[in-house]
């Protein structure tokens, strides 16, 4: 937890489109992430959090600014940075095992060895029994576990997760949170986790990067100083959740105003009390 692993400096991203004026997805993002850190990018839709992740993944190119991984400029996607997407994106024509082996075979790992490693990762995500199933035979949560195994088997330095649990039901998600925390603890990977779920971010992360909209960028960064393994009823977490929610509310109001017209306003104090206006809550 010492060296800077990922350094973003003044990253801008502009999307050009013919009909509309070009939109600024990311405006002047500067952020450093340490090795082994678990960082969440949190924000409402349209704040450029997925764009930022894609830029780090190398799937998209920044318009200006610089992005260093291990002090080296990155060029395109690489298997030191593997992405887990919201949908598992398993290849439907391959068995679960073949899906997990796919990346290893690209890395020219011998077939037998690849099979062994893939199998051991499937067991770590508790899917050893389903190695020879086809993806369509699995449930959503199981598919997402396969996707995680497929990413981790590559032994990437950085794991990028783009709302990986957003499409799952609450119970499955909670189980996977625990497992992800455990896997992260065991492997010591740097994880960047995109989400719009505050609780998820609070429970999992070392640091939460709250993003803003129009133009997209960083609004605030919250360190999470609760001990691990985390318990979602920890008072530190609940307090932090409230603070983030209050800041997020302002962003949501901005988005809604733009979408629904300027006379729209969130009902005051509808969701939570603002802790800054409440003398007692910070004590």
């Amino acid at each position: 937890m010492s060296a800077d692993h990922i350094t973003l400096k003044n990253v801008h991203k502009k999307f050009e489109s013919k009909e509309h004026n070009s939109t600024i997805a990311l405006d002047d993002v500067t952020l450093t992430i340490k090795k082994g850190e678990f960082v969440s990018l949190l924000g409402p839709s349209g704040c450029g959090k997925s764009t930022l992740l894609n830029i780090i993944a190398g799937l998209e190119k920044e318009t200006s600014g610089s992005l260093l991984v291990n002090n080296k400029e990155i060029k395109g996607p690489g298997n030191d940075r593997i992405v887990v997407f919201q949908e598992s994106g398993l290849f439907p024509w391959m068995t679960v095992l073949e899906n997990v082996m796919y990346g290893l075979l690209i890395k020219k790992v011998p077939k037998e060895e690849a099979k062994k490693q893939a199998m051991s990762w499937l067991q770590k995500v508790h899917l050893g029994k389903f190695a020879h199933s086809m993806p369509h035979e699995l449930s959503g949560g199981m598919k997402q576990r396969v996707a995680i195994a497929r990413a981790l088997v590559m032994d990437p330095e950085i794991l990028l997760m783009d709302e990986p649990f957003a499409a799952l039901d609450e119970q499955t998600r909670m189980v996977l949170h625990k497992e992800l925390e455990k896997l992260w603890h065991e492997t010591g990977k740097t994880i960047i986790f995109v989400t719009h779920n505050i609780r998820e971010a609070v429970v999992l992360s070392d640091r939460i990067v709250l993003m803003k909209t129009r133009p997209g960028g960083i609004k605030n960064i919250f360190p999470v100083q609760a001990s691990r393994p985390r318990n979602s009823s920890d008072s530190i977490l609940i307090h932090l959740e409230n603070r983030i929610l209050t800041e997020l509310e302002q962003e949501m109001e901005k988005v809604l105003k733009e979408e629904l017209g300027s006379d729209y306003a969130l009902e005051k104090d509808r969701l939570r009390d603002d802790p800054h206006n409440n003398l007692g809550s910070d004590i």
């Binding site: 993944a57 799937l59 298997n79 949908e87 994106g89 290849f91 024509w93 796919y102 497929r150």
Partner: protein, 250 residues
């Protein structure tokens, strides 16, 4: 069965003269012609079998070449925008021309014979495969491509292991369509271009007014068509759909 009874009735009551409407099973006069008899005799003597064989060989040769050309063109159209804008447009235009229209041109280029028949077959099937394959390649779920890229796949490896594999269900549907076009093209080509085969035999039947022969050949054409469709393509499609987990509505 009912069809055959109606058929026989029309023949027996001589609604049409016998040379236009021959009986199917029971001859009108002892030892007279029936469709079934001609069919069986033709098969035994080898005349029909031989013609069927040569038609099928042409179908296969033409179809295989068409598949290769179609896939390569489809890939190029998918890969390069410039080719899409030029050849892609050209292909759609050509596709609008019924392939039998090419026959006079083919006869001038390749002469009466096998060459021009195969040319028509290739033209008919390759264009259709080009269009279905390029559309299929373009519509691959971008998520799968991103997954493969983040794993380190790129270039032709990406195409071979992901894009092509992902489109197999659509490609099979495309091949099924294309083979039907090819089979039509074989017969149309033989009918006009001579060179033996079922189509030429059909033309012979017309010129000697042998309605029984014409009907026998039509039966063979239909039977072969449905055999190939049911035993190759439907089976293949079911297998692929099951493997890919595509839900069928039936």
């Amino acid at each position: 069965m009912i069809l055959i009874i109606i058929w026989e009735a029309i023949s027996k009551f001589e609604v049409f003269p016998a040379f236009m409407w021959p009986p199917f099973i029971i001859p009108n006069d002892p030892g007279g012609v029936t469709v079934i008899k001609t069919l069986i005799n033709g098969l035994i003597s080898g005349q029909l079998l031989e013609a069927t064989g040569s038609s099928i060989v042409r179908l296969l040769v033409g179809f295989v070449i068409a598949v290769i050309i179609g896939l390569v063109l489809g890939f190029l159209i998918y890969k390069y925008k410039i080719i899409d804008d030029t050849i892609g447009f050209f292909v759609t235009t050509l596709q609008a021309i019924p392939n039998i229209v090419w026959m006079p041109l083919a006869i001038l280029w390749f002469g009466l014979g096998v060459g021009s028949v195969i040319f028509i077959v290739i033209l008919g099937a390759a264009l259709s495969i080009t269009i279905t394959s390029s559309t299929a390649f373009k519509s691959v779920n971008p998520l799968l491509i991103r997954v493969a890229k983040t794993m380190g796949s790129s270039g032709f490896h990406l195409f071979r292991t992901v894009i092509f594999k992902a489109t197999v269900p659509q490609l099979i549907a495309g091949l099924r369509l294309a083979w039907a076009l090819a089979w039509r093209a074989v017969l149309a080509g033989e009918l006009l271009g001579g060179s033996g085969g079922l189509g030429t035999l059909l033309d012979l039947g017309r010129s000697i007014q042998a309605m029984d022969l014409i009907f026998s050949i039509m039966i063979i054409i239909g039977v072969i068509g449905s055999l190939i469709d049911n035993f190759i393509f439907v089976k293949l499609e079911r297998y692929v759909f099951r493997k890919y987990g595509i839900q069928s509505n039936r």
